[in-house]
């Protein structure tokens, strides 16, 4: 009998392929879960450093967050131009070259990793402070390189004060009642032993300084050493505050410092010693702004109780209180003779008040609360919670002139007087309708939603524009314009479940994406889904790994260049080994060649180089820092970058992960007679698609029934276990040599969960999240797809051959061979 034999041989081929495949690819994808708890990697010694990247806007010359501070640097030469410095909630400072009717962004000072809260010019230095708890010193006219980071605060640094005529002295105040007084020149002195590896770019030889010696130097200092900071220099501490400080001011000579905050009292200090002089009471709420006249006799304060108060420090009392604003006063600026004060605040308004006549004038009111002002000749610059800065005319030398226009009112004594006046509708008309000049900013992102695919993020900015970002490339892929954020969010809902591999926030007005090891490595995708051509079907892409590669590709290239040139010039080839040796993780094996591997960045993870994202990380000695990925020069090592990022990018090593697998039980549907043998729990990658499970069931069905007639003992399985007539089909498989039968198959098995038929495209994780919805192990059920239909289908066609009693070959009407699995009884019945 030729025909049956032929069939048998074909069947054998099929089985061998199936076996190979099952022991190789499929078993790799699905294996049984070890019974004992596998929690060996749960003991991490400490929290690893985090890597954050900030997606910058393409326009580098605009702020994207509110402007917290302003500083004017008057030109040294008569014909030179003045410079304006703006510090923003976007974490950067910018320098603007001012001309009569223009302002050009000439530098961006990028290094702070959180809001820049205040900035002052002290001699030849620009000093800024930030919610990142640091102060930074910059050369204001240089190409924006941070010359020193001062780390002494343990909480947000909210305010600074400089002494006009003693340019060395800068005071910093912050949350947690911390006030320090710095000698900037001393703080800038290069230190013989301790160096700041990042900002000073000293040769590598100095980096090996053991930490213990750093700590030793700090023992004489009774400040906290929370950050391993070590400087020969430590600032003077103004001790005695009980609560957070929100405002500071210093007189010209640097002999008097005033501070204010949530304690509602103004404290007066001698900044030379840090000793307390006196305390002034009067405000009923947080003190947000302070000014001292040049002599240090008079002090002006602005408070959240909406009052401005004038204090005579000699008499130690409040000599005037001005009810000008209808809400909190956040900013004060006075003319040089201290006869008039400009004030701005939460009520969106800018007033000019004559301190002696108590006459007040509304200069300007717009839609954003005013955060700071700076006077420049006959102009006043106004910073608000918006990202743009406005300039208004101001009679710098003779402010009285503005009052001649009329429209002024007399400031009251009590805080409610203005509020009442404004309620009664007697609100004054602003002198200036529009600013004379505006430095535009771009709208900051204020709302976001991470979409379920964990690659796309929907954002809304201050202008109401809704955009869709692909964060693994750092680009906007869709700009929806001004539409409803919530509706768009609903519209974009996708039923997929990908682990949360990053966290994010929008405090900088742009997207900050935070990655922590090992959680960030929990998300995987199939390469084919990223349209990577030529990728094997089962190739998995780790989202964090590819993102890190995309972020650090420039760094790695420069690093290779450097190590190459170093190796030839200095003979310093050991540097890369040092890196690996110093890595704190015990699992790392030495692999000298690994670093030389070049890597290709996949298109889906390629960040634009014209508006590159910035990397933010904690660093170690120099404190946290931020740099554009294209500005990394390859010298950044494990002291600057988290070791796990370097290990991932350079060596392709990922930390042991929990959670990339999903355990499940595979059971026949109730009433279904198809049974396959699966002992206990199965485990597979969370991203495994249901069609793989279908394939697995089919393969198992084939494997459980050896087709070869000789091993008839195994052949009893399917038919007898079901005990009833049931025809099982394997689907429409065209058997061509080398073609695995299930590759071209339409699903003839369906998988169900909670009685719901699953789409073959769904992943296990998706099923678990949206259909199973229980903490227990997932249970999937399988059943034949419309088996009755198949039965009739067979009956119409002739049986070609059969083997072993449970499978048969049939020649279909189109002359192709089809494999059918069935019970003996079924065939008999069918025939």
């Amino acid at each position: 009998m030729g025909a049956p034999f032929y069939g048998q041989r074909l069947a054998n081929v099929a089985v061998t392929e199936a076996r190979q495949s099952a022991s190789g690819k499929l078993e790799a994808a699905m294996h049984r879960v070890a019974s004992a708890g596998n929690t060996s990697n749960s003991t991490r010694p400490r929290k690893e450093k985090r890597l954050t990247y900030v997606l910058n806007d393409a326009d580098d010359t605009k702020h994207c967050g509110g402007i917290n501070c302003l500083a004017i640097l008057n030109s040294a030469t008569p014909n030179g131009c003045d410079n304006l410095f703006t510090g923003s909630r976007d974490g950067t400072l910018k320098r603007w070259a001012l001309s009569d009717n223009d302002a050009t962004c000439s530098a961006t000072f990028e290094s702070h990793v959180d809001w820049v809260n205040d900035a002052v010019l002290a001699g030849n230095n620009l000093v800024s402070c930030s919610s990142d708890t640091t102060l930074k010193i910059w050369n204001p006219l240089s190409d924006a390189v941070c010359s020193r980071t001062l780390r002494q605060h343990s909480d947000y640094v909210t305010c600074l004060a400089a002494a006009e005529k003693n340019s060395n002295i800068v005071a910093s105040g912050g949350l947690g009642a911390e006030v320090f007084i710095w000698d900037i020149d001393a703080a800038l002195l290069p230190l013989a032993k301790t160096v700041d590896p990042k900002e000073e770019e000293l040769p590598n030889g100095n980096l090996g300084l053991p930490l213990s010696s750093l700590r030793g130097m700090n023992t004489g200092n009774n400040m906290s050493f929370h950050n391993n900071q070590s400087r020969g220099y430590s600032p003077i501490v103004a001790k005695g505050h009980k609560e957070s400080v929100y405002a500071l001011a210093m007189n010209d000579s640097g002999t008097l410092l005033v501070s204010g905050g949530t304690e509602k009292v103004i404290r007066v200090w001698d900044p030379r010693t840090g000793s307390k002089n006196l305390k002034l009471r009067g405000h009923a709420d947080n003190i947000r702004a302070l000014l001292l006249d040049s002599t240090g006799r008079f002090c002006l304060s602005g408070s959240s109780d909406s009052m401005i108060r004038l204090w005579d420090l000699g008499q130690q009392r409040c000599v005037h209180s001005y009810a000008v604003h209808t809400d909190s006063v956040w900013a004060l600026a006075s003319n040089s003779t201290f006869t008039h004060v400009y004030s701005g605040g939460r009520d969106l308004s800018l007033y000019l008040t004559d301190l002696s006549t108590r006459e007040s004038l509304l200069l300007y009111t717009k839609e954003h609360p005013i955060l700071q002002m700076a006077l420049q000749d006959d102009s006043i610059w106004v910073a608000t919670t918006d990202s743009s800065v406005h300039r208004l005319p101001a009679e710098g030398c003779n402010p009285q002139k503005v009052f001649e226009r009329g429209g002024s009112f007399l400031a009251g004594n009590l805080s409610f007087t203005r509020a009442r006046a404004s309620l009664e509708g007697s609100a004054p008309v602003p002198v200036y309708k529009e600013p004379s000049f505006t430095i535009p900013g771009i709208p900051g992102i204020v709302q976001y939603e991470i979409l379920n695919n964990r690659r796309h993020v929907l954002t809304k900015d201050t202008s109401g524009s809704v955009k869709l970002w692909e964060i693994t490339r750092g680009v906007v892929i869709e700009d929806y314009g001004k539409v409803s954020f919530d509706e768009k969010k609903e519209e974009l809902f996708e039923m997929v479940s990908i682990p949360a591999w990053f966290a994010m926030d929008t405090r900088l007005g742009s997207l900050s994406i935070h990655m922590d090891t090992p959680q960030c490595f929990s998300a995987e995708m199939y390469a084919v889904d990223l349209n990577i051509t030529g990728a094997p079907e089962d190739l998995k892409i780790n989202l964090a790994q590819e993102t890190l590669r995309g972020l650090l590709v420039h760094w790695a290239a420069k690093r290779r260049q450097r190590s190459g040139s170093q190796a030839s010039s200095n003979g310093n080839v050991a540097s890369s080994n040092d890196v690996t040796r110093n890595l704190p993780h015990s699992k790392i094996e030495m692999d000298d060649g690994a670093e030389n591997n070049t890597f290709v960045v996949l298109p889906s993870f390629e960040f634009a180089t014209d508006s590159p994202p910035s990397i933010v990380t904690e660093g170690s000695h120099g404190g946290p820092w931020r740099k554009k990925i294209t500005d990394l020069d390859g010298t950044e090592d494990e002291k600057d970058l988290p070791w796990w990022c370097m290990d991932c990018v350079l060596n392709g090593r990922l930390p042991p992960r929990e959670n990339t697998k999903c355990s499940f039980h595979l059971q026949a549907c109730e009433g279904s007679s198809v049974q396959i043998l699966t002992q206990g729990k199965l485990s597979a990658p969370r991203i495994l698609r249901i069609n793989k499970v279908i394939n697995y069931v089919i393969e198992k069905m084939v494997l459980d029934k050896p087709l070869d007639g000789g091993s008839s003992d195994g052949a009893s399985g399917l038919g007898s276990s079901t005990g009833q007539s049931q025809l099982s089909t394997l689907g429409d498989v065209s058997l061509r040599p080398g073609m695995k039968p299930w590759q071209k198959m339409k699903p003839s098995i369906e998988i169900l969960c909670n009685n719901q038929v699953l789409s073959p495209e769904m992943s296990l994780a998706t099923v678990r999240t949206y259909i199973w919805k229980k903490p227990e192990d997932l249970v999937l059920n399988y059943r034949l797809l419309s088996s009755l239909l198949r039965l009739s289908h067979i009956v119409k066609r002739g049986m070609l051959g059969w083997s072993g009693g449970s499978c048969c070959w049939m020649r279909d009407t189109d002359s192709s061979m089809r494999l059918w699995v069935c019970g003996r009884a079924d065939i008999a019945a069918a025939l």
């Binding site: 909480d155 609560e243 949530t262 969106l348 926030d505 405090r507």
Partner: protein, 377 residues
């Protein structure tokens, strides 16, 4: 069932002054059910509540096959008391107690139970039942939109946003029953970001205020502490939606809508860390007969008068006894399970607590019931 001895004694004491139509009945104890008896007595003498419940009983008694629940059991019990021929005596709340135990396994054992927990459970259960009944009765679309949670509903809004005026009618009116009418108040939790100074207000409804207590203090000072400003700072900053970042913030609780019956629970049972268990605080906390609520948003002069106290007797949290003091028709009565006695208002100070830690007097006011003087209904 009626035991004459105590009844007649009380009747004698009151004599001519025995209020017309009023009944003073003790409640039988089924083994550690004093937590239940003390609360039941207080609720019975909470006149608006009793009247509503008796109304409910009248309206529902003819619905033949109505399913038994806590509400029907309580209504039965109240009607049983009020319709007694005798003026005094003892009644067995057996059906009610059985129902409680059936409903909640917490109260099933013979362990000592917390009267405050029981009161809370009971009021919430009654609300749930009333809500279900209303929903079933008018299954019209408008009725189905009422909220399902009874214990608390909340809404959030920005109170001082500079550019957005207060939004009117955003908050959906939560389901209101006559239980709510009597006991529900609204607290508002105000958080002010210290950077942008935006105030976020979150309203919460309450049936009682649980107050932390201090030695030698008063209800007024405890209420003051309850509304005192707390600063969120350092590691515990507030995420401000306006600033999109963590900032310092000040937080405080205010009473937005004072309830007509103000229930104050004194936290006398406190978990002591180093002991690893709860301890009873016998602190002396003076409760006045007349109380003025200061920490309110509006209505600064909401005045209340004390009409009942649940007293815990004993030194520990896991054992002891509950009795209740009830003011009825200007007489103070002492309800101790089966016993009802008259006491003098001047002896109320005995229940304030003790200034020394170990004192022979272990009878301490635990739950205080004040009725609003402003609203008479």
């Amino acid at each position: 069932m009626v035991m004459g001895a105590t009844g007649s004694k009380l009747e004698k004491a009151l004599g001519e002054q025995f209020p017309e139509g009023e009944r003073y009945f003790g409640l039988e104890n089924f083994g550690n059910t004093c937590y239940c008896n003390s609360v039941l007595q207080v609720l019975y003498f909470c006149i608006p509540f009793r009247e509503q419940l008796l109304d409910y009983y009248e309206n529902n008694k003819n619905v033949g096959d109505a399913e038994e629940n806590l509400l029907t059991c309580l209504a039965d019990l109240f009607s049983q008391i009020s319709s007694q021929k005798k003026k005094t005596g003892v009644i067995s709340p057996r059906r009610f107690v059985q129902r409680v135990k059936k409903q909640n396994e917490l109260f099933r054992s013979y362990m000592h139970q917390d009267a405050h927990e029981f009161l809370n459970f009971l009021l919430n259960e009654l609300v749930d039942i009333l809500e279900r009944e209303t929903n079933a009765a008018n299954a019209s679309p408008e009725a189905s939109s009422s909220s399902s949670s009874s214990s608390s509903s909340s809404s959030e809004k920005v109170a001082n946003g500079p550019s957005n005026p207060p939004v009117n009618g955003v908050r959906k009116d939560p389901f209101v029953t006559w239980v709510h009418d009597s006991f529900q108040g609204i607290l508002t939790n105000e958080t002010r970001c210290l950077r942008c100074e935006t105030v976020t207000a979150r309203d919460e409804t309450f049936f009682d205020l649980s107050l932390d207590i201090e030695q030698n203090s008063s209800i007024t000072s405890c209420l003051k502490n309850f509304s005192s400003t707390e600063t969120l700072n350092a590691e515990d900053k507030f995420f401000c939606d306006k600033c999109c970042s963590l900032q310092e913030a000040q937080k405080r609780m205010k009473i937005k809508k004072p309830p007509s019956i103000l229930v104050i629970h004194l936290k006398r049972f406190k978990y002591i860390e180093h002991l690893g268990r709860n301890k009873k605080l016998s602190y002396r906390v003076v409760f006045p007969m007349e109380l003025k609520l200061m920490n309110t948003v509006e209505d600064p002069d909401t005045e209340y008068s004390l009409f009942a106290v649940v007293v815990h007797i004993g030194t520990g949290p896991n054992h002891g006894h509950y009795v209740s003091l009830v003011k009825s028709h200007n007489h103070w009565l002492y309800f101790d399970d089966e016993t009802v006695e008259m006491i003098d208002e001047s002896t109320m100070h005995k229940y304030f607590g003790s200034s020394q830690e170990y004192s022979s007097n272990t009878e301490h006011g635990y739950i205080l019931f004040y009725e609003s003087l402003g609203r008479s209904s």
